[in-house]
């Protein structure tokens, strides 16, 4: 898994490429929570190239969401592929996160 963090205006884009499995979730936690702890509150996770997410990694996304939300911000999910969309539906996390078809849509009104 590769995590790339970049800034786009007021938003932080976190691109997760590959498998966010149990072996990779510490790196995801490190990258995502470091951004949040550094003050990022408007975060878009680009899942277009994410092929797997375990519950541990979902927990990282939720922790980031709670921290950002607590400061008036958000964590949005962009372009999850079909298996991840289904996973978000199964866990009902699509009711917690706003899910967008792509990063550009997620950045609108951000």
């Amino acid at each position: 898994m590769k995590v790339r963090v970049r800034q786009e205006g007021a938003c932080t884009i976190v691109s997760i490429q590959g498998s966010a499995d149990v072996g990779a979730s510490p790196a995801l936690r490190d990258a995502l929570l470091r951004a949040v702890d550094a003050g990022a509150t408007r975060i878009v996770c680009d899942l277009s190239k994410t092929d797997f997410i375990c519950s541990d990694a979902l927990g990282v996304l939720i922790t980031a969401y709670l921290k950002a939300h607590g400061r008036g911000g958000f964590v949005r999910l962009a372009n999850p592929q079909k298996r991840l969309r289904k996973l978000l539906e199964t866990t009902r996390l699509d009711h917690l996160f706003d899910v967008f078809p792509d990063v550009a849509c997620a950045l609108k009104d951000a």
Partner: protein
């Protein structure tokens, strides 16, 4: 029948790497140290067997997810990340089904008492989704009476819930 996984007491030593044995019924048994990084190595071996038998990507995704969740639960919640404890894994992959058994050395739990992570008041909890995911993505999930062992089955003929099998192979 799966091999009897739970062992009374603890073994004399915990291996630093998974150790693997085979039996005549086709079960492959491994003993894993309680270390999350040990999961990936075993997972690769299981998924390689699915790929060799031509299982589709949706089935591979489902088995991978349930496999990880079972082992994470065994290490984190069962063995409480105690490095002196081990996790016993057994799996059997045939053209018709995938069977996975995971046993930990913890005190056990009652899976039916795990709060439902999909209800609104639990959606913000960062953990507690493992059992639900295993049940959602496998066709059978059976716990031993004390909850220290789980036996899961995924049938090839059954599509993964929510997906018509794409036909693409993993």
């Amino acid at each position: 029948m799966p091999p009897s996984l739970p062992k009374e007491g603890r073994g004399p030593s915990v291996p630093s790497r998974p150790t693997e044995t085979h039996d005549a019924a086709g079960w492959i048994e491994e003993v894993l140290p309680t270390r999350l990084t040990a999961i990936r190595e075993s997972e690769r071996r299981v998924l390689a067997r699915l790929a060799a038998l031509g299982y589709g990507e949706d089935h591979c995704f489902a088995v991978r997810l349930a496999f990880e969740e079972a082992l994470i639960n065994a290490m984190k919640h069962g063995n409480r990340m105690d490095p002196s404890r081990q996790v016993r894994l057994a799996y059997r992959v045939s053209p018709e089904r995938v069977e996975i058994c995971v046993a930990d050395e913890g005190a056990g739990f009652r899976p039916d008492c795990v709060p439902d992570p999909t209800v609104d008041e639990n959606l913000q909890r960062p953990c507690g989704r493992g059992v639900m995911l295993m049940r959602s993505y496998m066709d059978e999930v059976i716990y031993s009476a004390n909850g220290t062992e789980v036996h899961m089955v995924k049938y090839r003929a059954n599509p993964v819930r929510g997906f018509p099998e794409s036909g693409r192979r993993c």
